[in-house]
Amino acid sequence: MKVKVDKTVLASVALHVFVLGWVMVSFSTKALEMPPEDSVSVDVISPDQLAKVMAGMKTGKKENPKPLVDKIAEAKPVDEAVGKITEKAPVVTETAPAPQPKVEEKPVEKKPDPPKVVEKPREEPKQESVEKKPDPVKPDPIAEAIKKEEKKPPPKPVQAAKPPEPPKPKVERTFDQSKIAALLDKRDPSRQAAAGETLNSNAALGLAKGAAANNSATWGSMFKEQVLRCWKKPYGGLEAARFEVEFNIKLKRDGSLEAMPVAVSSASSPYQRVFLESGLRAIIECSPYRLPPAFFTEWQAFIPVFDNRDQ
């Protein structure tokens, strides 16, 4: 018996075999290629290390040990060293000098005036509060006096409540000055001069708020971390009174001790002596210390204070 084979089925099978076979062969030979990427160096730092970031700028160079300082003044770091330095010196405009002499002259002359002006506001509020409308009704001497100077009689309550307005003649000038001040503020400098103790033209890498430069807490905590590893704190019993012992230590540039640490405090009990000795041992055993070289002047001589608190 002849088996009837559908041609379409045959074709389908043949096609499937062909396609699958081709796929297998062609795919197996080709390896996936990845274009080589440029490597990017990434530093992972802890929040703790972030706190130790030096003062400087994001654009600064790592090699520069000190933050940028444009002028000598109280230390004041800047965020971005982009743009021109705008000195915030008093900007003297052409109009400004003119009013100044006037101000100097007028105070003397005008002094008699202010009292008058001051009187008015005191009386006016009374009137308004007692009787609101009728100014002219009352034949008050005060009212009369007010009438005489009728310049302001129907003052809006708001104005009346403003006594310091009086020196209006002068006001124009002071007004001018404040305007100038406002102008000056608006013309915010593109950046301010970075101030510091000594001039330095190269910016260091870091952040504007980096506290490391003048903060012993940073290298101090580095020292503490290291010395704690060697410190075998003696047990002082349940009720050891709190006390501290201080040492004078001098370090060399490589972090090793320049001389034996000297205890500043003296021990008054056997336990305090043991405690003091334990600190001394720790300082010696853990040297040399790895401390930021930039602040060598800070840590070349300092005073570690060992405290017997449990924490």
């Binding site: 047990y235 019993g237 009990s269």
Partner: protein, 451 residues
């Protein structure tokens, strides 16, 4: 902070020192970070209380025959210091330098390398007259200085005792407190099955060595207590009739009944001068505290209440007595003058308090506290404040202080078929350790320092 700012003038420095200490004492300086010379003050706070790494190489043999005793002495010292929890003896396998002459300064660098902070060297030498000479030196490795050194002569069989004395010297120099290693413990040795337990009075060194049995175990003995000044022990023994308080001389083995009272006498303890014994006497359903002068045998009544007053213990100055009484309903701890009179209750916690014992330092009273199905060992200040539980469990009882008041020994019953054993714990609650005993052991009492 330039170098020019550093203090160079001696008088200036003195002034500053005084100023600093003055300010520090008033707390003004605690927050400041710089001194007047611009030097930064770097606070080093925290840090764990850590055992001190100490290296104890074998003591050098003065003559060829002394090598064994030299090794033994350093072994005993190592064990003592390690058990105190305040020292971390370094494994001798790590030692780089071999000490050959204990008179010469060691090479500190090689001890520094293995992180030793202290080093003990010594020598044992047998003398021509048969005695043993022991020398030791304690070195501070980091400062390369000798902290202390001493030599002793003794008969060869007491070499352990010498090792304990040296341990005390090291302990005192490095912790600032007196040691407690040269002391002994009297306890009740228990052998046999639970139903037919044999209880013997036994004596050993505080580290569990040199166990001696003082009684044969035919009579039941309880609550042995050391005399603070003589080689005597007082304890309670159940003889044919009522339990009685006995006095036992360790040297001669002699024993005698303390006083001749009708009824039961129990829970004896010596006064700090060793001249008197304070104890409880039963009177009907009550018991009261009495003190007896050992020389004149005269007896004085201290309490007179319709309650059970027991477990008296003197303060180290002999002026006051703490004891247990159920006059308030439940057993609690009371304190009264040593001459009797108004007693003040000092324990107010949950549960009941018993077996109070005054620390030789005078600062604490240790007790057994019962409540909630648990027996705990604790300490409190002598006014009842600052209660602190050191350990708690199925059954803990009978605290006794080490001579320096820093360690408490007690006995613990695990429950079930086992028996009791002795433990020590620091008064901070740390470093709980089992004391090795030949069999089961209970009712420990720590002796004063022998020397």
């Amino acid at each position: 902070m330039s170098r020019e700012h550093k203090p160079t003038d001696a008088t200036l420095r003195m002034d500053r020192r005084q100023l600093l200490s003055g300010l520090a004492s008033t707390g003004l300086l605690l927050g400041s970070t710089r001194n007047s010379f611009g030097q930064a003050r770097v606070p080093v706070t925290g840090g764990d209380v850590a055992p001190l790494p100490i290296a104890i190489p074998n003591f050098v043999a003065g003559t060829p025959g002394d090598a064994e005793v030299g090794a033994g002495v350093s072994q005993v010292i190592t064990n003592n210091l390690k058990r105190s929890g305040l020292f971390a003896p370094i494994d001798p396998a790590a030692f780089i330098e071999r000490i050959v002459d204990s008179d010469k300064a060691p090479q500190f660098q090689s001890w520094k390398q293995i992180n030793a902070q202290a080093l003990v060297t010594g020598r044992m030498t047998r003398q021509g007259d048969g005695r043993l000479k022991a020398e030791f030196r304690l070195w501070d490795v980091n400062t390369a200085q000798q902290l202390t050194g001493q030599q002793y002569f003794t008969s060869p069989e007491y070499w352990r005792r010498i090792a304990h004395i040296i341990s005390d010297q090291i302990y005192e120099r490095l912790t600032g407190e007196k040691g407690y290693f040269d002391s002994r413990v009297v306890f009740i040795d228990e052998t046999g099955s639970k139903e037919r337990r044999v209880k013997r009075l036994a004596l050993m060194d505080q580290d569990g060595a040199n166990v001696r049995y003082l009684t044969r175990g035919s009579d039941l003995v309880l609550t042995p207590r050391f005399s603070p000044s003589t080689q005597e022990i007082t304890y309670m023994e159940f003889g044919q009739g009522d339990p009685r308080v006995y006095l036992f001389n360790i040297e001669t083995g002699q024993r005698e009944i303390v006083g001749n009272f009708p009824g039961m006498s129990f829970s004896p303890r010596f006064s700090p001068d060793g001249q008197r014994i304070i104890m409880s006497l039963q009177q009907g359903g009550n018991s009261n505290l009495f003190v007896m002068d050992l020389r004149s045998k005269s007896t004085t009544r201290l309490t007179d209440t319709p309650a059970i007053d027991t477990s008296p213990s003197y303060s180290p100055d002999g002026a006051r007595i703490c004891f247990e009484s159920d006059r308030g309903g439940k057993p609690q701890i009371y304190v009264m003058p040593a001459t009797g009179g108004g007693a003040q209750r000092i324990s107010f916690g949950e549960g009941s308090y018993s077996t109070p014992v005054w620390s030789p330092r005078g600062d604490y009273i240790a007790f057994t506290k019962q409540g909630g199905g648990q027996f705990a060992i604790g300490i409190m200040k002598t006014d009842g404040s600052g209660e602190r539980i050191l350990t708690s469990g199925f059954h803990n009882e009978g605290p006794t202080f080490a001579p320096n008041g820093r360690v408490v020994m007690f006995f613990r019953e695990p429950g079930g078929s086992g028996g009791p054993s002795l433990f020590t714990v620091d008064i901070s609650g740390r470093n709980e350790l089992r004391v090795p005993t030949p069999g089961f052991a209970s009712d420990p009492a720590w002796s004063p320092l022998l020397s």
